[in-house]
Symmetry: C2
Subunit: 343 residues, 2 copies
DNA sequence: GTGAAAGCGCTAACAT
DNA sequence: ATGTTAGCGCTTTCAC
């Protein structure tokens, strides 16, 4: 019985099949795949030919069982919130898939149980379904990072452990303050002096961090920030109200926002008042969402280097998964500003 | 040696560990997990207690090896194109993750090699890393579906096999023509008579399908379509130019677009001419992207029922993965119209 | 209803 | 440099 030709699908070829065709032992085939250097060139060639001929690819389950590793990275996939402009996940996931694939890992998606945020992690961990996790939602008070640490689960966080100074897990994050500082400085250089901040509520650590970038940029130029800041929810509506209020009370000529969603609210207000973004008033958002890219006249926005984030995460992951593990520290990346018509 | 208490992580408990604690044999534990009906209630309870106590979860690799199935669904993850408003993937992936998880499957993401679109599929298939695929980019000329069919790989397509009438694989798709018809009728009911179509190039089968919905709605009301159609690339710029041209030549009072991206171009043109969307001219997009949701005054758009799509896909998948497989046919779902300020 | 034996396909350790 | 042996943890016969 041959497998060649136009045969109906059978069970895939195994190591033993290849060994037989190549006239070597199974172990030699295994070595050809995993430690080619151990083989004599001519033996290697013969084995590789056989592998090619049969279309052999090692059975993952068997390999996983033996090596106690799945080469799978778990990622809890939460979708972008509706009615916001925030769609980082899409870009990030793509970068992660690309990068980890290059490193020999695949990405396993699992849903989050809102009731029990650690449930999905626990399940995958105990069943040894994944080798490690990438934790993306490490916001204040989220128990995941701490939980993963106590479980000694290998994981890298996308996001700083804001709330936990004892955290020792590796993380990668983007310097929001630096991004907003970039944005603010950009407006200053465009001649603006009264630049307003449209941000999130005080409880949002990330929002406060971004706000600090605005404060820093303003102060370093000797510009006043008094009466120029507002904080609200991350909705278009809030951005609209906040900017209307700011325009009335403080007559800013520029707005720096904690998100593209809020920036859209600002554009909304400008439109209502017959003001033209980029001509009468400058607006800068955060995240370089698709909205920023397509809304007329184009929204200047802070863009997170998600490709780099993925690269750093995978680098950390590879470190964690070697024997013995190499624990890296935190990595803070700097975003860039994408300038468009709105400024 | 006990595993209980605050012990440092060891290798996870196995079937044998549970068996020992419960005072039964390994098979009985296996049965307790997979065929609880076979056990006597008291034995079952004892085993479940032991499972709980040890925090046992079956080792996936071992189970996969034995059952020759991974309970993993492969999905090639392509990111949303930059500079378009299209971000379906995010919503779809989430729905798929949720639904397949409920059915006991996880989603495995893999990157697409632009050079060789079938490479990733082939690899996963041969290494038996996934049980099935969900193929999302089954556009005209894409070899994936055909390739998967000849390989007899279990897969469900999100998208009709437009180009291949001999295709027998299960698919789920959204009726774009019906969606556009909905949109057009909506404008007619709002009193519009001269409704323009801003679509994609003729080669885009999906675009032609959507266009047919416009034609159908117009003709059924006895409205002329002459001079009211345009076709271009799926970019904001194209939508802008096309709508400018249409306004000059045919004075439409409403625009139905093949995508939110094109609709954004139309909004752009309206803004330039001092026309207000929703008051002077009505605009409808397609996809209900985040852009449609946040752009002022809100873009009316056709929304694909991606949650339902995921449900149908998983239903088909479950059929394919039973023994013997149950091959379903195609499923065509109807989108809905989300009405906002632009109409 | 429960237990014993076998083996899925692979790789680590050792022997040659 | 290549072959032999053993076993990862599980489920599937098949006895009892």
């Amino acid at each position: 019985m041959t497998r060649a030709g136009s045969w109906v699908p059978t069970t895939p070829p195994t190591l033993a099949d290849v060994a037989e065709v190549a006239g070597v032992s199974r172990q030699t085939v295994s070595n050809a795949v995993n430690n080619p250097d151990l083989l004599r060139p001519d033996t290697l060639a013969r084995v590789l030919d056989a592998i090619d001929e049969l279309g052999y690819s090692p059975n993952r389950a068997a390999r996983n069982l033996r090596t106690r590793s799945s080469h799978l990275i778990g990622l809890r996939f939460a979708p972008a919130q509706e009615h916001t402009a925030n769609a980082l996940m899409d870009r990030f996931v793509h970068s992660l898939v690309e990068t980890s694939s290059a490193a020999g890992y695949h990405v396993l998606l699992f849903p989050g149980d809102p009731e029990d945020p650690t449930a999905g992690y626990d399940q995958l961990l105990r069943s040894t379904a994944v080798d490690a996790f990438v934790a993306t939602d490490t916001y204040l008070g989220n128990p995941q990072a701490t939980w993963l640490e106590t479980r000694r689960a290998p994981f890298v966080a996308f996001g700083r452990p804001w709330d936990n100074e004892e955290a020792v897990h590796p993380w990668v994050d983007v310097d929001g303050a630096a991004g907003v500082e970039l944005a603010t400085t950009h407006l200053v250089e465009r001649g603006h002096q009264r630049i307003a901040w449209v941000g999130w509520r005080k409880e949002q650590v990330i929002g406060e961090d971004r706000r600090a970038g605005w404060t820093r940029a303003m102060r370093s130029r000797g510009l006043s920030t008094t009466g120029l800041a507002s904080r609200s929810d991350d909705t278009v509506h809030s951005g609209r109200e906040a900017s209307a209020h700011l325009l009335d009370e403080a007559s800013p000529t520029g707005f720096v926002c904690a998100s593209d969603t809020l920036a859209m609210g600002v554009l909304h207000t400008l439109g209502e008042r017959g003001l033209v973004a980029g001509r009468d008033v400058a607006v800068v958002g955060f995240d370089d969402s698709q909205v920023a890219q397509v809304v007329p006249p184009g929204l200047t926005s802070v863009r997170q280097p998600l490709e780099e984030v993925a690269v750093e995460i995978v680098r950390h992951l590879e470190g964690l998964l070697t024997h013995p593990p190499v624990r890296g520290g935190g990595v803070l990346l700097t975003p860039e500003l994408v300038v468009r018509g709105s400024s």
